[in-house]
Amino acid sequence: MSSEGVVTRAAPPPLSLRALTELAEHQGVHPDVRDLEAVLGTLCDLAADLARLETTLSLEVAGQ
């Protein structure tokens, strides 16, 4: 956290295929591994984007 209270958030590490499988099965869905490998890329991109959003949110809060 900076002196202005702004949190710069780094993108989290990607979930493992095993974790994705367990999360899907927890919701009653049983995807195959090729689909999950493809999904992983989308999730990594989104996680990075969301980290930037959270930083922006933090900036807005700090600016209020």
């Binding site: 979930l15 994705l20 999360l23 899907a24 919701q27 009653g28 869905v29 049983h30 995807p31 090729r34 689909d35 999950l36 493809a38 999904v39 989308t42 999730l43 989104l46 984007d49 969301l50 930037r52 959003l53 959270e54 922006t56 949110l57 807005e60």
Partner: protein
């Protein structure tokens, strides 16, 4: 043939509703084998309904709707084999309004599977072809609606737009279309994608046609008098710069036209513009997955590969990320609202590119449309997320393919964008250009390729 023209001809008794419908059915018979815009043609029903159509704003007009919109007694397949037996017993509210105004529903139009993709290539009946170049996509997800309008296979159509699904195909097919402000047009009887963003809107040949159709859909008259003098127009230069050079050049020329007809044109910066894509995805992905969850449990393998993978992605977006997206959307709306204190309308390219070629296995495991899909998000998300009405108007051609210009208004101020669209179309004739797609050799080759794809 415009919607207003057909309605006027019928009112003047120069044309009967049955003749108007028959003319449309004849064109569908002749050209739809090349375009593949229709999933269901209601030929017999439409002719019978034409004879009994009530006199109203749309008396006798042959109109078709995207196949996610219920028409009583006709299948609503949403472009998926999962729903081929789904036959609703009630009309969607928008269809009931069309009928009450005297329109004739001639059929149901192709869509990306479950309206969840920008190409209209994953449907169970195969891809819709762009009438301007049959080997190219029509865009999506309302690809059948835009292609049918461009090819004259209906005088106007309805589409749905969650994240660009009306605007994108309209731009790629060279027709005019309106994404209304959310909440103005009923979604009852329409298969959803993401409830926060879903809208239903008109696709037609002109802004005047869109205004007429939108008046019926929204249940209140919308003025669309040409209005330009003193109108403050902000050019979203960041998106012009992000578009392909050919598209940017066409859009630059269109912006010059806007200045010529009396608007005050300035470049504008939107500080949070590039956050819109992430906001949109963080909200849309889990909302779509939620609606499909029961079917994902039982019928996962029945979805096309690309739609299945997008839906699966939504299973793994945490609730905290969804809520971050919603909070960020509020900030984003405030950001846009500050811009609209200085401008009446913003303009930007509807798409960064013209229609890309249809890939033989584009929606398959190699996801050959991935780069196209990523490229379009920054162009539609900024207005989707903010909840503003957008009118996309044809504004020229790049290498023979149509380019669209988005006119973005304040929330619930459809009248201003429709009025500016009318003024732009009074000064240009891009919306009057028609595709010449009747080459029988191309059509035969297209059919052969479709058999290979499906």
């Amino acid at each position: 043939v415009t919607l207003v023209g057909v309605v006027d001809d019928i009112a003047a008794r120069a044309l009967t509703p049955r003749e108007a419908v028959q003319r449309t059915l004849d064109r569908i018979d002749r050209f739809d084998p090349s375009v593949n815009a229709y999933i269901t043609v209601r030929a017999e029903e439409a002719l019978a309904e034409a004879d009994a159509a009530p006199a109203g704003l749309l008396h006798g007009a042959p109109i078709a709707v995207k196949d996610v919109i219920d028409v009583a007694g006709s299948p609503t397949t949403a472009g998926t084999r999962l729903l081929v037996n789904n036959r609703p017993s009630r009309d969607a509210v928008v269809v009931a309004r069309l009928r009450a105004a005297g329109a004739i529903v001639v059929g149901k139009l192709n869509t990306h599977e479950f309206a969840y993709g920008p190409t209209t290539t994953s449907s169970h009946i195969g891809p819709t072809h762009n009438p301007w170049s049959l080997d190219r996509i029509a865009g999506g997800s309302s690809g059948g609606s835009a292609a049918a309008t461009a090819a004259g296979l209906a005088v106007a159509t309805l589409g749905t737009d969650t994240a660009g699904s009306i605007r994108m195909p309209a731009a790629l097919c060279g027709v005019t279309a309106l994404r209304p402000s959310p909440g103005l047009v009923s979604r009852r009887g329409v298969i959803p994608v993401a409830q926060t963003f879903d809208t239903v809107g008109p696709i037609a040949r002109s802004a005047e046609d869109c205004a007429l159709l939108f008046s019926v859909l929204a249940g209140q008259p919308y003025r669309s008098q040409e209005r330009t003098h003193g109108l403050r127009v902000g050019v979203v230069q960041a998106l012009v710069d992000l578009a392909e050079p050919g598209v940017a050049a066409v859009v630059d020329a269109a912006i010059c036209v806007l200045a010529d007809i009396g608007t005050l044109v300035d470049p504008v910066e939107i500080p949070l513009l590039m956050t819109a894509g992430a906001i949109q995805q963080s909200i849309m992905l889990p909302e779509a997955a939620s609606w499909h969850l029961a079917r994902l449990r039982t019928s996962l393998g029945e979805y096309s590969v690309d739609v299945r993978r997008r839906l699966l992605s939504g299973l793994f977006v945490p609730a905290t990320s969804y809520l971050t997206g919603l909070r960020m959307r509020s900030l984003y709306r405030d950001d846009i609202a500050r811009v609209f204190e200085r401008y009446d309308v913003l303009v930007a390219p509807t798409m960064p590119c013209t229609a890309p070629p249809i890939r033989r296995d584009g929606d398959g495991p190699n996801d050959e449309y991935a780069s196209y899909r990523r490229a379009v998000i920054p162009f539609n998300a900024p207005w989707t997320v903010a909840g503003h009405p957008v009118l996309s108007v044809p504004c020229g051609f790049s290498q023979g393919l149509p380019v669209g210009l988005s006119l973005v208004g304040r929330p619930y101020d459809e009248s201003t964008v429709l009025g500016l669209g009318r003024a732009f179309q009074a000064a240009t004739n891009w919306h009057e250009r028609l595709p010449t797609f009747e080459d029988p050799v191309v059509a035969a080759m297209t059919r052969i390729r479709d058999q290979e794809i499906t």
